[in-house]
């Protein structure tokens, strides 16, 4: 056993009232890997990510992230853990009352880094995601969806995190912008030497960025393994998803 896994999900169960979302999800994400979690809409992907971040508590089972239990019950410990994580939200979740650079350098500004130094770091991070310095002083509302994603990504990596989580990073983007984001995920992975978890239903994106792929269906993982194994999996559920067919064992939810 070389290194402790970056993320360990042990038998997670979670229900909202009568709606069961997670039914025994188990997953290990090794340090330094890019783990893609694939799943259809409503398979529990986003809920799983919220459990990893401690925004939700599972009813049963344990989450371990970088050796800690993420829980909002201990805000100080939780903040210390979050300082080591970066999260890219599906809708970017930029603070609309702040300019782009204030968004990127948010944590630095709150922790009283001088504003000049914070802005310098923000510009550097914007450069890393391929954005020019001239966007730094405008507000998020003036940006396109793809640019917002990149700003949000710059914000997520501002604290040089050892774990970066992506919630559907390419959803809602045109194919070219989506591929730019894929390239960024790969590039940041190399530069930050971090562990990445990408949640998506975009097969193209998954095959491009993943080291390993896990397939989430109805709240548990059906398969987990290297990309090549996944591509050639004979599991009928996986086959239907990979080939994108309407007919098969996965029925559309109604």
């Amino acid at each position: 056993m070389a290194q402790a896994p970056a993320i360990l999900l042990d038998n997670l169960h979670l229900a909202f009232g009568s709606k069961v979302v997670l039914r025994g999800a188990n997953l290990q994400v090794a340090t330094g890997q890019t783990q893609v979690i694939l799943g259809g809409s409503g398979s529990g992907k986003s809920v799983l990510l919220r459990c990893v971040l401690g925004l939700l508590q599972p009813d049963q089972g344990q989450v371990t992230v970088l050796g800690h239990r993420p829980t909002l019950q201990q805000p100080t410990e939780h903040a210390a853990l979050m300082a080591k994580c970066g999260m890219l939200f599906q809708n970017s979740a930029l603070f609309d009352s702040m300019t782009v650079w204030e968004n990127v350098a948010f944590t630095l500004i709150q922790q009283r880094t001088t504003l000049a130094a914070a802005k310098k770091i923000a510009l550097e991070k914007l450069g890393m995601v391929g954005l020019a310095a001239r966007v730094a002083d405008i507000y998020p509302a003036e940006l396109s969806g793809g640019m917002k994603k990149r700003v949000a990504l710059a914000r997520a990596i501002c604290g040089n995190p050892s774990l970066v989580l992506y919630d559907e990073p390419t959803t809602g983007l045109d194919p070219i912008t989506a591929d730019v984001i894929n390239d960024l995920i790969l590039k940041l992975q190399k530069e930050l030497r971090c562990t990445s978890v990408v949640i998506t239903h975009d097969m193209h994106s998954a095959f491009k960025v993943a080291d390993r792929i896990a397939f989430l269906y109805e709240g548990r993982f059906l398969t987990e393994g290297p990309v090549a194994t996944f591509k050639n999996s004979s599991n009928p559920y996986v086959r239907q998803f990979v080939e994108g067919r309407a007919d098969g064992p996965i029925a559309l939810q109604n």
Binding site: A80, A83, C85, F89, A93, D96, Q110
Partner: protein, 268 residues
């Protein structure tokens, strides 16, 4: 499915409906208490943005509410003068009593209650809508993932601004309300202005003022808590923000009127 259906059927029983409402109320009070505790526990933290936020919130809550609160107070004072003159049948007592009645009613009751209700509708709605929008666009979750405590960063400055600024507004409202009463007494009812003012000052005591300010601080706290609580826990989408805003205003108003009774009962 059949189980769900059966549960819905039994919910039609009126006794169960009452029970469910009581349970909901108790749970809601519990959640509000937990929310307050989380805000209290976050006090030790300090962020640059949070202190800047306190001053800008005080500006918005306090200075921004001055016109509407003063307008309300001016006309309330005027109405009080008219009503008490009418109540005294315009007789000889009017000269010495109208000022006293206006001042007492403003200081003890109408100043804090009306300013509180104006604060609930103007500031409470704005706070709930702002935090609700931040909730549904995941900006509050983003704060958490950026290692920033949202209770300290977003909630506490807003509650403190309401708590500190409502008493200030009430002092202004009292003054302008008495002035409104004086205007009506002198220019419309033909009463003696100096007798009116001496009635004002002989009629009120420190205790009246303190009671009014205790009410104001309590109502400010109520509005701040209700607005941030409902905004912070807004449901999904635009409808969720709308519901949160409505609840913030309605529950603030109800809380103001109920606590008003109890504070009055303690002081009297």
């Amino acid at each position: 499915m059949s189980q769900l259906f059966a549960r819905n059927v039994t919910l039609f029983s009126p006794v169960q409906k009452i029970g469910a409402a009581v349970l909901w109320l108790i749970a809601e009070i519990g959640r509000l208490a937990l929310f307050t505790a989380k805000v209290g526990r976050s006090m030790g933290l300090n962020y640059r943005g949070a202190s800047g936020s306190l001053s800008s919130q005080m500006l918005f809550v306090g200075v921004g509410s001055v016109p509407i609160v003063l307008l309300t107070a001016l006309f309330t004072g005027g109405v009080l003068a008219l009503q008490s003159y009418h109540g005294l049948s315009g007789g000889p007592l009017a000269n010495t009593q109208v000022g006293r009645l206006v001042a007492l009613s403003m200081l003890r009751e109408l100043g804090p209650v009306l300013a509180g209700l104006m604060l609930a509708s103007r500031v409470g709605a704005a706070i709930a809508a702002e935090l609700g929008t931040m909730r549904v666009t995941e900006q509050i979750d983003a704060l958490v993932t950026l290692a920033t405590n949202p209770y300290r960063y977003l909630v506490l400055p807003r509650i403190l601004a309401c708590l500190f600024m409502l008493p200030m507004l009430v002092i202004l409202a009292n003054t302008v309300g008495i002035f409104g009463g004086w205007m009506v007494a002198v220019h419309s009812l033909g009463l003696d202005g100096s007798l009116f003012m001496s009635a004002v000052f002989s009629g009120i005591t420190n205790e009246d003022l303190i009671m009014g300010l205790v009410k104001a601080a309590t109502f400010g706290l109520m509005v701040g808590l209700m607005a941030t609580y409902h905004g912070f826990h807004a449901g999904n989408g635009a409808a969720g923000v709308g519901t949160a805003t409505t609840r913030a205003v309605v529950y603030s108003a109800v809380a103001i009127l109920i606590t008003d009774y109890f504070i009055t009962a303690v002081f009297v």
